[in-house]
């Protein structure tokens, strides 16, 4: 039991990461209706800009700022592609396009960053916050979970209580109609892409030191993040938050049980499958009525 609790706490770090990136994915989906597979890759690009700058000897915090700007820029660039050419495409087409973009980003990123060679990743928030069940919970983990919660609260408020939020939701549901009503569609969309780009970059800067520091593994964090988003059915921020943390905790616990442990990386897929089956069941139910 103790071992299980310990490993559950050990999974919190991963859980916070999934939750934070998951909430970002939901945010993007609700505002520009794109299931964005490039989310983590955008953040990774910004993070590697930070690494390049600090490795070149520039001071940390200005480099962080520059990295965030790079992340925002990459986000806007991808957003431009999506809004310019695929605004009226179906959700599945858009998702496929982002998958293609992800593959491209990873290929280019790996080349530019020297492939599998590790880099010196500046730790923005070093040290551990507290000890729980024999596990050091790092500042980075606490901050990740904290940011995920904060982003959840803010997104919820923003979308449901502000005029801009309303516009953005209109934009997501009926871009053409929104445009006719005088909503600046393209500008608002690009703003969303830029903001989420900046935010995921900052998130990944916190997460990266604890992760395998190469472009591909960081970019692929999007898979469990999208699994978390699916728990929230790409609608609910709170369910996504809970889903992400739960996913990390389950993964952590799985690593103590040898027979399950080797299938550990399949857990996000199992969760996706379970959620899809569940939501399909609902759909069938609705159809039958």
């Amino acid at each position: 039991m103790d071992a299980l609790l310990t490993s559950a706490v050990a999974g919190l770090t991963a859980g916070g990461t999934y939750a934070l990136l998951g909430v970002c994915a939901v945010f993007t989906y609700r505002l520009v209706s794109v299931v964005n597979f490039t989310g983590a890759a955008i953040g990774t690009a910004g993070t590697f800009a930070l690494i390049a700058l600090t490795e070149a000897g520039y001071p940390t915090w200005p480099s962080v700022l520059a990295g965030i700007l790079v992340g925002a820029f990459v986000g806007v660039a991808i957003g431009y592609v999506m809004t310019r050419w695929f605004a009226e495409s179906s959700a599945s087409t858009k998702a496929a396009v982002t998958v293609a973009l992800l593959v491209g980003l990873i290929a280019v990123g790996l080349r530019l960053t020297g492939g599998q060679h590790p880099h010196v990743m500046p730790e923005l928030f070093p040290g551990s916050a507290f000890r729980m069940a024999g596990v050091e919970v790092t500042f980075a983990s606490v901050l990740t979970i904290g940011l995920a919660v904060l982003f959840t609260v803010l997104s919820d408020l923003f979308l449901n209580r502000t005029g801009v939020g309303l516009h953005l939701r209109a934009l997501s549901d009926r871009p053409m109609a929104a445009e006719l009503l005088g909503v600046k569609v393209q500008l608002l969309s690009l703003l969303v892409w830029g903001l989420t780009g900046a935010f995921t970059t900052f998130a990944l800067m916190i997460i990266a030191p604890q992760r395998s520091p190469n472009f591909m593994t960081l970019s692929l964090l999007v898979v469990p993040a999208l699994a978390a988003a699916l728990v929230g059915l790409f609608r609910s921020f709170w369910l996504t938050l809970a889903g992400g943390i739960l996913l990390g905790v389950i993964e952590g616990m799985a690593s103590t049980v040898d027979s399950i442990s080797q299938y550990r990386s399949a857990i996000p897929f199992l969760v996706v499958l379970a959620v899809l089956l569940w939501s399909q069941r609902e759909a069938r139910w609705d159809d039958a009525r």
């Binding site: 590790p118 993964e251 690593s255 103590t256």
Partner: protein
């Protein structure tokens, strides 16, 4: 008198010259050395150059070694015509590349290959076509279990045993734990590596975990190692994961465990990224530590690489070593260098020593080949790798 004397003298001279000529001819006949039709010996390599990994340093070093020999006139006048084929880590491309080298380029042997999948994909082809590969860097398990492939590196599986052997003998490990990332069909080979260690050391592995993820958070694993009471942890992680693991260990404030890695962990990037870590970090090498550029064992390799303007990396040692072995073997062939004569020479060759490696290299008739069984252990000290074992750690035989 004078004339006859002259005649006598000149005939003596002629006779002795003739004798000398005969002698030279006789000497020539007994050690004709390798010959080649067309003035070239064709050699190839199948390597992963583009794709998920880049092993091009290996065959490029082989190329540099051959270039040096060619510039000096070749072996007995035969230049080496070397072709490097990129398999792009794609099985179909790898198979095609091998067929091209064997059938169209008519390579007599493969030298200095380094690929994610050449051995697994082409091992059977090499056996069927009866061509042998002096692999510059054996990566996958098939490189160490094919009759026609013999790598010049120790390889991750034997290195697992060797580094474990060092842990028990020198670090006095009592509770050795091993965590492996299992990719493809490597599980049995790693298990065998640990079993061999158990036979040699007489100890039992304290904890064996074959589920280390390629990506994902490692916190649960380092906690597992700590709570199991491991005093030494051995893993097969590659560069970025090595850094991630140690960062996670530091974040968890774990002390008192020795962290042992295989050759992929021994890089300058790892050293730099982990310069601040207080953990005792060790790595086993495949060859003479490449960072020791002043060592006598590295001298020839360093000189040739500098001449060819190639970087001094561990990979380039492998390619260079493979070339040296091939040159030695071909140098001992009498007559035409063909695939058959190279095969015959490899089969009956005596072990060849080279200062770059701790074990002599031999091909021979065995069904599987893993001739290299020695490592040097490096320790990370403030951002620099230092040699922990000045002498080679030789792995005793398990049988």
């Amino acid at each position: 008198m004078g004339v006859s004397n002259m005649t006598w003298k000149s005939s003596l001279l002629a006779a002795s010259l003739a004798a000398l000529g005969l002698g030279a001819m006789a000497g020539g006949a007994s050690a004709a050395g390798p010959t080649c039709s067309g003035g070239a010996i064709k050699v190839g390599a199948v390597s992963t150059i583009t794709g998920p990994a880049d092993f091009s340093e290996v065959p490029k070093a082989t190329q540099a070694a051959f270039d040096a020999v060619n510039a000096a006139g070749g072996i007995n006048g035969c230049k080496i015509d070397y072709t490097i084929a990129d398999d792009k880590a794609d099985p179909a491309v790898a198979a095609q590349a091998a067929r091209d080298l064997i059938d169209n380029k008519e390579a007599v042997a493969l030298v200095g290959s380094a690929s994610l999948l050449d051995c697994a994909v082409n091992g059977a082809t090499y056996a069927r076509k009866d061509i042998r590969s002096i692999q510059g860097l054996g990566v996958d398990a098939a490189c160490f279990s094919s009759p026609n492939i013999a790598p010049v590196n120790v390889g991750p599986f034997t290195l697992t045993t060797a580094v474990g052997y060092y842990a028990t003998n020198v670090l006095k490990a009592k509770k050795l734990c091993a965590f492996f990332i299992i990719i493809g069909g490597t599980q049995e080979a790693y298990k065998k590596g640990i079993e061999d260690w158990e036979k040699i050391s007489g100890q039992k592995i304290h904890l064996l975990d074959l589920t280390l993820p390629f990506q994902g958070d490692l916190t649960p694993y380092v906690i597992k190692a700590r709570d199991a009471g491991c005093d030494t942890v051995l893993t097969n992680q590659v560069e970025p994961q090595v850094v991630q693991l140690i960062k996670t260990v530091d974040a968890q404030k774990i002390t008192g465990i020795n962290w042992l890695f295989l050759a992929p962990g021994y890089t300058e990037q790892v050293a730099k990224a982990l310069a601040d870590s207080p953990q005792p970090i060790y790595a086993g090498t495949e060859w003479e530590p490449y960072t020791e550029t002043d060592s006598a064992a590295n001298a020839e390799w360093v000189a040739d690489m500098k001449k060819a303007n190639r970087p001094l990396t561990a990979f380039s040692q492998g390619g260079y070593l493979a070339a040296q072995m091939f040159l030695k073997v071909v140098g001992g062939i009498d007559g035409e260098v063909t695939r058959d004569s190279v095969n015959a020479a490899l089969l009956k060759m005596q072990p060849i020593s080279n200062p770059l490696a701790g074990s002599p290299y031999v091909f021979g008739e065995a069904k599987t080949h893993s001739p290299m069984r020695a490592t040097k252990v490096m320790k990370l000290d403030k951002g620099k790798w230092t040699v922990e074992t000045a002498d080679w750690v030789h792995l005793p035989d398990t049988n």
